[in-house]
């Protein structure tokens, strides 16, 4: 019957979309696995591994990620305009990738990688296959969440200048986020968490400050005896 024919067509369309989704899933799994390696690698900064070494390794993973996104974009070329149909299938992975990229960039430069810079870095810069702004912003918040830990571990290993730098950065970032009008969604919740990161870093900065543990003289060693003397 015509009804049957109509549904046959629906099923074939849906199956096509299913196949499509499988293809996405397979690339996304590769992205996820590369991101995990990159993550493991970046995390070693908490144990004070030398930065250049860490970053070099990381950059090769970024290259891989860019290739994978290129692969994904090719998959999407099959069905133009449906970027957001399948967005849910890879957005949390991409937010994680943004986090890693943003953290890396910050370690390198001390600055925030901007939306289009991040998009370029990952090859997510065509009009049809871009980097969703909210995904980018969520990734940035994830990065912020990592900084208090970084600061704590840096101070522990004797880098007393780190709190000031991070505090300045987070203060700036927080001020920038406050420009946005958000809905009551996940991004707002993440932005709320940013305030706590800022507060924690401020505390560490305070701890260092009142002990007079300045950056220059940090060769002396990490016991706060001297700081008592300073006052």
């Amino acid at each position: 019957s015509s009804l049957e024919k109509q549904f046959e067509e629906f099923r074939s369309q849906l199956e096509e979309s299913g196949t499509f989704r499988e293809k996405i899933r397979s690339v996304v799994m590769e992205i996820e696995s590369t991101a995990r390696l990159l993550h493991s690698n970046l995390l070693t900064v908490h144990q004070s591994r030398p930065l250049p070494e860490v970053l070099e390794k990381a950059r090769s993973h970024i290259a891989t990620l860019k290739d994978l996104y290129e692969k994904l974009s090719e998959v999407f070329r099959e069905c133009p305009g449906q970027y957001y149909r399948y967005h849910g299938d890879w957005r949390s992975e991409t937010q994680n990738v943004v986090f890693l990229v943003t953290f890396m960039h910050w370690l390198e430069t001390g600055d925030l990688i901007l939306h289009d810079e991040a998009a370029n870095l990952l090859g997510l810069n065509s009009p049809e296959f871009g980097l969703d702004l909210e995904d980018y912003l969520i990734g940035v918040c994830f990065m912020s969440n990592e900084l208090p830990r970084y600061v704590v571990n840096q101070v522990t290993s004797g880098d007393y200048d780190c709190p000031r730098k991070v505090l300045n950065f987070l203060t700036d970032l927080n001020a920038s986020f406050r420009i946005l009008n958000l809905r009551n969604d996940f991004l707002r919740k993440k932005f709320d968490s940013l305030k706590y990161d800022l507060r924690r870093v401020e505390e560490v900065f305070y701890d260092v400050k009142i002990r007079g543990l300045s950056a220059k003289g940090d060769s002396e060693g990490d016991v706060p005896k001297q700081s008592n003397d300073t006052h």
């Binding site: 967005h87 901007l114 300045n168």
Partner: protein, 254 residues
């Protein structure tokens, strides 16, 4: 003096500039979403009216009722749906789907409900979409109803058809009721095979259960008409098919 105090002020910085752009983007997106939600609510309300109009059908007034329904439906299409189409283009179809999906589903429900009563067949997705094409500039990739919303609307359609069938049986329109029964069964069976392929089957699974209930309500109604009709014939002494069972309720006079 320090960098820190400087950043507390609203002086310019690349980050700040970028975030201003982000803010504009998010504000625009939000406003557009709001507009689409409102358009969707309008579509829902007016589509529901079309559905109620179609329910006013009976064997005596079919033409006039359907003519009015056609008009009302055309108004929804040409006004509310046109507005939605103009609002949405390109990637927004999918990005803002959650904002307009309820309205579009209700529209599909109304259009297919009218379509079935008019022609006894299923109004296809392509036909509906063809009628929307005129509202947008083709170069803008104007809104086309997607297969998921269409199928979700279809699932609701079966509920309306069940109501219609029960009403028609009381008015003695048994053949029409049987036709509905067959049609709804067919949709249910096809959807059974189709639903597992859908992107997100959560809503649809509940709807499938409701649909099976609707099918069984129609079947039960047909069953009771049948058994009472079957009783009548032996009472008459079988061989008199001219005294139509369905006719009984027509010429009532004490």
């Amino acid at each position: 003096s320090s960098k820190r105090t400087r950043t507390m002020m609203t002086t310019a910085s690349p980050m700040r500039d970028a975030f201003s752009k982000y803010a504009d983007y998010l504000n625009n997106l939000n406003e557009k979403r709001e507009k689409v939600v409102k358009a969707s609510r309008d579509i829902t309300m007016n589509s529901k009216k079309v559905i109620f109009q179609v329910h006013r059908i009976s064997k005596f007034n079919k033409e006039e009722v359907l003519a009015k329904a056609e008009n009302d439906l055309a108004a929804v299409t040409n006004q509310q749906m046109a507005k939605l189409v103009q609002e949405l283009k390109g990637r927004d179809f999918w990005k803002l789907r959650r904002a307009y999906s309820p309205g579009v589903q209700e529209y599909v429900e109304a259009a297919t409900f009218y379509g079935f009563c008019k022609s006894g067949t299923l109004l296809g997705l392509d036909d509906i979409n063809a009628s929307l094409l005129s509202f947008g500039d083709p170069s803008d990739e104007p809104l086309q109803i997607n297969i998921l919303d269409y199928l979700l609307g279809l699932a609701d359609l079966t509920g309306e058809l069940m109501r219609l069938a029960i009403g028609r049986i009381s008015d003695g329109e048994l053949d029409f009721a049987r036709e509905i029964c067959g049609f709804v069964r067919e949709i249910h069976q096809e959807l059974m095979l189709t639903v597992p392929h859908m992107d997100d089957t959560y809503d649809m699974k509940t709807k499938m259960d409701t649909m099976l209930q609707s099918v069984m309500k129609i079947e039960n109604a047909c069953f009771s008409v049948h058994v009472r009709g079957s009783e009548y014939i032996p009472l008459l002494g079988s061989g008199d098919p001219s005294y139509s069972v369905m006719g009984v309720s027509d010429d009532v006079e004490p």
